[in-house]
Subunit: 395 residues, 2 copies
Amino acid sequence: MRKVYLDNVATTPLLPEVRQVMLPYLGEVFGNPSSLHDWGDTARQAVEAARVQVAQLIGASAEEIIFTGSGTESNNLAIKGLALAQQNRGKHVLVSAIEHFSVLHSARTLEKWGFELSLVPVDKYGVVNPRDVRQSLRKDTVLVSIMHANSEVATIEPIREIAQITRESKVVFHTDAVATAGTIPVDVKELGIDALSLAGNQFYGPKGVGALWVRKGVRVMPLLNGGVQEGGRRAGMENVPAIVGLGKAAELAKASMAARMEHLARLRDRLLTELPAKIDHVVVTGHPQSRLPGNASFCVEFIEGESMLMLLNSRGVAVSSGSACTSRALKASHVLIAMGISHALAQGSVLFTLGIDNTPEDIDYVLEVLPPIVDRLRQMSPLYSKFTKAGKGGM
Amino acid sequence: MRKVYLDNVATTPLLPEVRQVMLPYLGEVFGNPSSLHDWGDTARQAVEAARVQVAQLIGASAEEIIFTGSGTESNNLAIKGLALAQQNRGKHVLVSAIEHFSVLHSARTLEKWGFELSLVPVDKYGVVNPRDVRQSLRKDTVLVSIMHANSEVATIEPIREIAQITRESKVVFHTDAVATAGTIPVDVKELGIDALSLAGNQFYGPKGVGALWVRKGVRVMPLLNGGVQEGGRRAGMENVPAIVGLGKAAELAKASMAARMEHLARLRDRLLTELPAKIDHVVVTGHPQSRLPGNASFCVEFIEGESMLMLLNSRGVAVSSGSACTSRALKASHVLIAMGISHALAQGSVLFTLGIDNTPEDIDYVLEVLPPIVDRLRQMSPLYSKFTKAGKGGM
């Protein structure tokens, strides 16, 4: 059976070139970067070289990069660490309603610690309106966090415009760029932001490593206490092989970004146009233009996304429904709900996230196997039979 | 030049067998364990198999194991997570004065959050007296954390005796077993404890992974918020290759522990007896009997440990002086100071930590190169010339 992986939002495969540079660090080069001897020096140099590579991906300085264990840890460190470092100035935090749970739940934790949290709404495309950010800012606001792009609906947010507002108000602005860094151009100076999260496994780098960029001069309280690694901002021995891999993945992403984006967008566009043409009652979610190149997200009416996922899996195709991190919670996506999509429709969410290895034949295959799956599921759906009896209304 | 790595406390090399089982997870098996398709299933099964292996190493149940990104993260999660989960019952925490900084500084963070912290002293061998724990317990004590062994001076603590006391008082007891799990027998039921930290890189497993064991029924607040991974106790995508490697390292450690211990102790004993015989004014630190098998720790009078480390490095030998995590802080070890060793003597700390690949020839080499290094350094030491002029007094 053909195997088609279209769930690159959950994680991307490791590039062979990335794996190759990691291997020595799983072998003879095993030192602890904090050690003051040759074994330590070699490991430390590798970590510092990777720091430069990651900084270059986002137009930052190497010393501003903090290596973490995941995008989730980067977001936790950003939300909690930036807010706590400034709590003397105020205790109000602003995040969008469609943030990843590592941002949203970190902000909820801040509430337990005496902070106030405001959620900025989004429109039906999942776009945050900068004016809403401006209106929600208070004198005691110390942190704003709006994601660069939402990986569930692909919408890219107007980060530059929001950053102008936060800069005027002298409020620290963090963006979760886990969905964008390494995938589309990200330049922290151009964006005008103060902090940014990224994760290696989102652009063909290893699992177990992420980074938080914090602009020089902006304080962050460490989440992990202990040794003085990462400039005292993140204790714990550096995961050297993963960091080296992240560096290489960043270098490759930067070098081949334009070609990758073009390849992804071409395949993505086929899904966005041909799927609704082949299947009735399918809505594209997210912004029609301002979206990630490899991401085709839909809601299929009268169907459970999970069932679609399972049946596609039985045909060798991997997709997701909602975000992987919440897939086991089996709840309607908070992102879709925030966009005003009904609970019933949100249940039919299906998300195709393309990777650089996908081919036109992969798309042909999906366009061939999905329509009969949808038909089959709709035959079993009481909602659908009620609907068809009523005379085929619109959504 | 001969290369002799005697700094296994900083980190151990990865066993080839461990690397071997990790490789598929850096290649074709790349799924996210949270994904609901075959790619995810395969990754999840690998993680769950490793969970069983780690549980078996310490006599625990698999579902009690929380995978983390490092020993440091395990300790942070234990100290903060266990204390915060019980803060309604009280806000007093008790740790020993010689804990690793990931425990000590986490406890200091709790102080900022309104907790009170008491430090339990140690004797000149670095041993915690269980009676001191009993006397320091208060009605509002909610957490005691005493390390299983101190990696800097090798002393093994009377954990079972301390656990009896905490059990009687119904206080949660955590032990940092980063220095012992995978090295000497550790059985959580036999020890009678409630929580235990371990790290893969301490027993020939990978960097970037640790585990926290928490006894069923004991609550822990997550440190990282986000997805529902690890039973909602630690968000963030699982570092699958590292977790698989940790599992294998645990399995191998359990199978070959007795042989490894015997090998290490034989080499260690040579250092403990022959080094003081070859060099004047050398003190063994830590407990004479109750100590880790692969750890020979000394203070060399009239000398800076760092200089010794550098010169040994120039002869191809890796050792540490104090702990690697604090090596860049260049302060006298808090462990040695807590044991009543003077600042001057503590500066001369040197730590040989043996690994399973070390040979008798490695020990011969160290015993050959170290005495002239010490001589040379003492020639340059004003303290030493003052001392010799005064007529060679004792310590």
